[in-house]
């Protein structure tokens, strides 16, 4: 896909979803918590285009409000992970030696946990709240950014501009923040956009397993879990939250690909 097209398409999808979820209180046709038991599992109709769930709540309104949860968790988890990863990876790459060795061995340990397993283990002992989900996703999320930053800093630290800054008397902190981090930011941005897609999938996965956002709060993953019991009689419970997740993840992946081609052409395939 051409670079410009990827950025416009991915960015466009995310912009629309962002506006729709931010304006959820205005756009939602109903209160997402309002129940009407007699109308439970009702099929889509003009007043409720996505139908109703088992408690008679409007699915469109819950999908819009659920998007706020997913995007908030995704953005917060990636922000915390990037912050931790860039600082830790920067220190490892810049200081080198024992520090680098120790930090890299710690990242090896975190990388030994496949996917969201560590988050699942953490959520089994933490109370299922939005911020605990952010913490559990950040606990393993920082590792990728730390490795990326370390590799970039290792490549940059012997360059003339860093040596010049050092000779001019700049402190290590200043060299890291003013000279090295500014040059590391492009690949980190690319990684973060794809990482946010992963964080949204992970949050939905945790909520699907019952370890994430708890009812009655709307969450795409929890809505899918609820829909599983009614696949035969009410497939609309499963279809719409799934489309919302897939669209968001697809938008972020396309945007990430476009940004990679733009900011890091050496990675272009």
């Amino acid at each position: 896909m051409r670079r410009g097209l990827s950025i416009y398409l991915g960015g466009g999808i995310i912009a629309v979803l962002l506006i729709a979820t931010l304006a959820a209180p205005l756009l939602s046709p109903q209160n997402p918590y309002e129940m009407e038991l007699a109308q439970g599992l009702a099929a889509p109709e003009a007043a409720h285009p996505f139908g109703r769930d088992k408690l008679g709540r409007d699915i469109l309104s819950r999908v819009l409000h659920g998007g706020r949860t997913s995007l908030t968790v995704g953005f917060a988890a990636v922000s915390v992970s990037v912050l931790l990863g860039v600082i830790i990876g920067g220190i490892a790459g810049y200081l080198g030696g024992v520090w680098d060795e120790a930090i890299m061995r710690v990242t090896d340990v975190f990388l030994a946990f496949p996917g969201i397993l560590l988050a699942i283990a953490l959520m089994s002992v933490l109370a299922p709240s939005l911020w605990n989900i952010v913490i559990s996703l950040s606990v393993f999320g920082w590792v990728g950014y730390a490795r990326l930053t370390r590799a970039q800093v290792l490549a940059l630290r012997e360059r003339e501009f860093v040596i010049a800054a050092h000779a001019a008397g700049a402190t290590p902190g200043r060299i890291l923040t003013r000279h090295l981090f500014t040059n590391v930011i492009s690949p980190v941005i690319v990684e973060a956009s794809i990482g946010m897609a992963g964080a949204i999938l992970a949050e939905s996965g945790l909520s699907f397993l019952g370890l994430g956002i708890q009812p009655p709060e709307p969450s795409w993953g929890a809505m899918l879990a609820e829909g599983r019991d009614f696949l035969l009689v009410a497939p609309h419970l499963t279809i719409y939250p799934g489309i919302a997740i897939a669209l968001t993840v697809m938008g972020l992946n396309i945007l990430g690909d476009g940004l990679r081609d733009l900011l890091d052409p050496t990675q272009k395939r």
């Binding site: 975190f110 030994a112 035969l232």
Partner: protein
């Protein structure tokens, strides 16, 4: 090769120690009392004290850690609180189902991704290439907990061809394997395409063609053989995604593997079982990566020198 093997084994030891310690920290040190979680807030103090004693939580943390590590070294993962049996035996009973699903989904992923990747590389820049690229992006965006139910709606409920869930007969393996395999195939397809694109313009391919070897033979015997190396790396790296995807896929299809066991153990607050399952999955992942490293070094001698 022997030196490489020794170095890799030595590197494995601190990782395994770190993994086991991290699991101990997560399940026993972090805020959130397991006794509260297991019994609920309404339990009587005597009940709490009894469970605390049963779990060994009344002892100092250092003693608990030493006991935990000692148990692990003897292969003892403790006893399940609900099933009153050894955790290792319960996990062992579930491994066959998990292995079956993992291998089947890897096969599905290769069956989907290789033909698509090869077609995309051979027809680079055409509508077919673009179509395959779109399929890869769309596939990577579909979570297994959505694709699974969609496949059930179509193939089990709509067409009635395949069972909805459970593990009875070979037909019941198809939907979980396709769900999990489809999640893995986009990245494999991309890798197959890009590896082939790097190999196809090389001189030895032109030489093979000049010798009059059929295009099919050039592709499958000469090009794909070298393009497979990065695929092995990706496949081993993706085993992690496969294992965590299996936790959700097994839950969707009520597949009786280790992944579903973790979720059942969490739901029943069976802490020793949760701890054992997490350790087991992490150990499988670390071992698979270790074996992939060895296989890679064996296939490509340059790797041993790095």
């Amino acid at each position: 090769m022997r030196k490489f093997l020794l170095r890799r084994i030595l590197l494995l030891i601190p990782v395994l120690w770190g993994v086991t310690t991290l699991v101990f920290i997560v399940t026993q040190v972090l805020p959130g009392d397991p006794v509260d979680l297991m019994l609920g807030e309404t339990a009587r103090p005597a009940q709490r004290e009894q469970l605390r004693k049963t779990l060994g939580l009344d002892r100092p943390l250092g003693v608990q850690y030493a006991d935990y590590m000692g148990g692990l070294l003897r292969g003892d993962l403790g006893n399940s609180l609900h099933q009153k049996r050894a955790v290792s035996a319960i996990i062992f009973e579930r491994t066959y189902a998990s292995a079956e699903l993992t291998l089947a989904s890897m096969a599905v992923a290769l069956l989907i991704s290789l033909p698509l990747g090869i077609t995309a590389a051979r027809r680079q820049g055409t509508a077919l290439d673009l179509g395959a690229g779109f399929l890869a992006v769309a596939g990577a965006s579909m979570p297994v907990f959505w694709l699974g139910p969609l496949l059930i709606i179509v193939f089990s409920i709509g067409l009635g061809w395949l069972p909805v869930s459970g593990r009875e007969g070979s037909l019941s393996l198809i939907l979980p394997a396709v769900t999990l395999g489809a999640a893995l195939s986009p990245i494999l397809m991309r890798m197959a395409r890009s590896s082939l694109l790097e190999v196809l313009p090389q001189d030895y391919i032109s030489a093979a063609r000049a010798k009059g070897i059929s295009e099919k033979r050039v592709l499958w015997l000469h090009a794909l053989k070298n393009a497979c190396l990065p695929l092995i790396t990706i496949l081993s790296l993706q085993l992690g995604a496969l294992l965590s995807g299996a936790i959700i896929t097994e839950t969707v299809f009520a597949w009786p593997g280790v992944g579903r066991l973790v979720i059942q153990a969490i739901a029943s607050r069976d802490y020793p079982l949760v701890q054992g399952c997490v350790l087991f999955i992490a150990a499988v992942y670390v071992s698979a990566n270790f074996l992939a490293d060895i296989a890679y070094a064996w296939l490509d001698p340059r790797v041993r020198l790095t």
